[in-house]
Amino acid sequence: MPVSSVPETLRRPMATWSLKKLGPLIALVALIILGTIVNPAFLDPANITNVLTRTAFIGIIAVGMTFVITAGGLDLSVGSMAAFISGVMIISLNGLMDTIGLNWMLIAAGMLIALAVGLLAGLINGLITTKGRIDAFIVTLGTMSIYRSLVTYLADGGTLSLDFGIRGVYRPVYYDAFLGIPIPIWVFAAVAAIGAVLLNRTRFGRQVFAIGSNEDVARYSAINVDRTKTLTYVLLGLCVAIATMVYVPRLGSASATTGLMWELEAIAAVIIGGTLLKGGYGRIWGTVVGAIILSMIGNILNLTGAISSYLNGAVQGIIIIVAVLMQGGLKRR
């Protein structure tokens, strides 16, 4: 085991840049071809922007999840955290409306509150995991359950709805476009770009890789393991908050069903993208492609009547497994 904090995968010669590493990209191209064959409407710009826009929520969360998983952690709470933050945001917006008035200041205030809650939620997950020395799986399983029931409580078991007037002001954040591209896609792109720089070009990113490879070695290399691991959860909490900010204006509501299974979709996107589930290696571009693959599968199934809708889940499962099999080489570390 090398003492260097640079993981082995990064030091491999260029020759190993085989087809296997491009697995997710190949899977994506194959899906696009499949989609076009199934229904030419697939390539319609409106359909493509629909798919990318709805990818934004899972995609933004998955970017944060890439950091957590690369550092050897896991977070199951993100789906219910998203629901909880949506709920808190809607309640705050409705409550602050009379004080601030119907304008962009109100939306900005709501966004700040969302970020604060996301940061705090991430910090809680991170601190309990590191300071409490409890497995992340258990900690986040617990917080998952807590946030889900908190949002149900806030909504009285029903649905929290954004005031109609506020929706008018906030709606453009989801539905409007800048340079022909919907705003959620811009946000997704920005989060992914920042994430890629942070993971691959900074000291923090190298420490994340090192901790995921071998926590003890990282500790002996004078890396503050607890702090860095906690930071990955905080980063993920912030990503969940950002995803929420573009999610809330879509339907203007949050309920117990909001964000259901998002945690598994985000984890799946990360793994399909080639990040190792056991940590030590991660890549943001893969995660982005993985997230797009996931929502594209659902889209293609909706565009065809050829497959019984009873079998949608089976087709999704097969494609996910095949996409990961295509890059099997990465797992032999």
Partner: protein, 316 residues
């Protein structure tokens, strides 16, 4: 002593009160319902809580234990707890699923507990004392009838289904049976899981897939909310109309206002849990005969009658 104070005492020390009051009778009713996993079950939770409060205030010595379950097996466990820990005299149960809960409910009934079954019937007859339900086939049929009428018997429609369950099957089967001999063509049918987000995404894809859609049967109002947004986004509001169902307040409000996109709704009231709790309590506190089946109607809600189905305080 004010009425409120008497009530407080009644809640705090029911044993003392039972000994004193002549008409009072100690009865524990267990209410087991699915957790609020979507809008409609959220409504069930709301109305169950409301009814529990109202009934406990109304009848001396009545205690209502409300438990929710996230799955069929969890509900079976909670039935055991109700029986053994809370020693219930009556059970009001809205089964998660019919088949897996038939035996657990039978075991409760075998212990001499009075059983009221709500919404989803058990797989075997004769276990329950009272059956209260909405009418799922009726709901599908009424929706189809309206659609045939509004489309003059011919057109192209899409259907968004709920979660794959008996309820969903019954509605869809009745709907399809009704339109069978008309020129209405179902272009596409997908599950949207009684969920707003899925309704939005499935409808977006239907809109990409089909150039012409005359009507949408969303079957449920949560799905309908998502469908409305997708249609608005595609700016195709003038092309079609949407029929949801259940009676969610947001949709009822639209119907009341005469919205062209959602001209009608079909009722499937979550408040049926309150009906079931009321008649169960009546059985213990009055001489009124209550045993039997109560099948609630699924009327068509139009602009004319919408107001009587509008409950602005309910979360659903």
């Amino acid at each position: 002593m004010t009425g409120k104070a008497i009530l407080a005492t009644a809640v705090a020390i029911p044993a003392m009160l039972a000994a004193g009051a002549a008409a009072a009778q100690d009865v524990t009713i267990g209410v087991s319902i699915p957790a609020a996993t979507h809008g409609w079950t959220g409504g069930v939770n709301y109305h169950a809580n409301q009814a529990a409060e109202a009934l406990e205030a109304k009848y001396d010595g009545l205690e209502i234990v409300l438990v929710t379950a996230g799955s069929a097996s969890e509900q079976a466990n909670s039935l055991e707890d109700l029986l053994i820990v809370h020693e219930i005299d009556a059970l009001v149960v809205l089964p998660f699923e019919s088949d897996p809960l038939t035996d657990p409910v039978r075991q409760v009934a075998d212990q001499g507990v009075f059983v009221t079954v709500v919404d989803r019937g058990l797989a075997e007859d004769g276990i329950e004392d009272i059956y209260v339900a909405g009418n799922n086939p009726e709901m599908g049929r009424i929706s189809a009838e309206y659609m045939i009428d509004a489309l003059d018997g011919s057109g192209e429609i899409v259907v968004l289904r709920g979660i794959p369950t008996v309820i969903d099957d019954q509605r869809v089967e009745a709907f399809m049976g009704e339109i069978e001999d008309t020129d209405i063509e179902v272009l596409g049918m997908e599950y949207a899981n009684w969920n707003r987000d899925d309704g939005f995404e499935v409808m977006q894809d239907f809109l990409s897939r089909f150039d012409n859609i005359d009507a949408v049967w969303a079957q449920d109002d949560d799905i309908a909310i998502g469908v409305i947004e997708a249609v608005r986004q595609a700016e195709r509001e003038d092309e079609m109309f949407i029929v949801g169902g259940a009676g969610m307040k947001e949709i009822i409000q639209r119907v009341m206002e005469g919205d062209d996109l959602t001209p009608v709704n079909v009722l499937y009231p979550p408040a049926m849990i309150a009906t079931a709790m009321e008649v169960t309590a009546l059985h213990f506190y009055t001489n009124a005969p209550v045993l039997g089946e109560y099948i609630l109607g699924s009327p068509l809600i139009t602009q004319e009658n919408a107001e009587q189905y509008y409950f602005p305080d309910s979360p659903f």
